[in-house]
Amino acid sequence: MLLTLLAATGLGLLRIRNLFAVVMLAGVYSLLSAGLFTVMDAVDVAFTEAAVGAGISTVLFLGAMALCGHHESRPGHTPLLPLFVVCLTGIALVYGTMDMPPFGGADNPVHHHVADHYIEESYHEIGIPNVVTSVLASYRGYDTMGETTVVFAAAVGVMILLIGARTRRERPGGEGGDG
């Protein structure tokens, strides 16, 4: 079962201190979750996750890691408090799932708001077979425009952080330290 594999990968991520291995394992994790999305009928999402998670994000992590060192030092404080917090949150969430509808049921509440309309009417209203695309670009067009703007804003943030710093460091007497 893919989910069990994912859980094992998650544990591996937790244990390993070598950041190179962690980044590679994170790529494996992404690829596994892309497989899971395919099984769950979310082919568009799986496609995106495979391209983003296993491709671009691994490259970016490696780039950042080359600058920040490959090894993680041992944490100084005891892990008991975080472990306690995490267990408490986990138990609360599992308790919450007891009220959730069973997995895969066709009459779960989530399927009866606008989803019916999208599936039944979108071919007449939009005229293209891929419902995900028509919802993405037409019914929720404002939403997607906002997302595009967020992606652009994030890039501007990275540019400000990394380009602006370079010019200041080259100025004599600038306060930026060396790496």
Partner: protein, 144 residues
Amino acid sequence: MREEVIVRVGAKVLAPFIITFALYVHFHGDYSPGGGFQAGVILGAAFALLALVYGLDEVQRVLPPWFVQACAAMGVVIYAGVGVATMLLGHNYLGYNALAPDPSHAEHGQHYGILLVELGVLVTVFGVMVSVFYLFAGRGRKAQ
């Protein structure tokens, strides 16, 4: 990595196919999985691959940083511009029915509208991915 013949030739052979595939993913997104987001990421990955194998300078000669940064901004402009265009044609903002060439089949406009806004998404995502990659990789080279 510059001496590895197999890697260099492999990257050179693969890159055009990756770029073509990205365009296929974009334009065929109406009928099969895919769309602007995926196409932008794949296109960005193609250039990241070339930069990893051939070095950053070679790729930046083809695709200068100012160009990808302009791309990131242009995509948002395309998306918002489609909205303004439909308003000028007398419909709601992003009401794609305005784009139909034949008013009796208004839903055809949806098709054009979706392709255009997805093109905006593609251009933005591509520009963002490549420019972020340039910044990270450029930093790494400077630090060494």
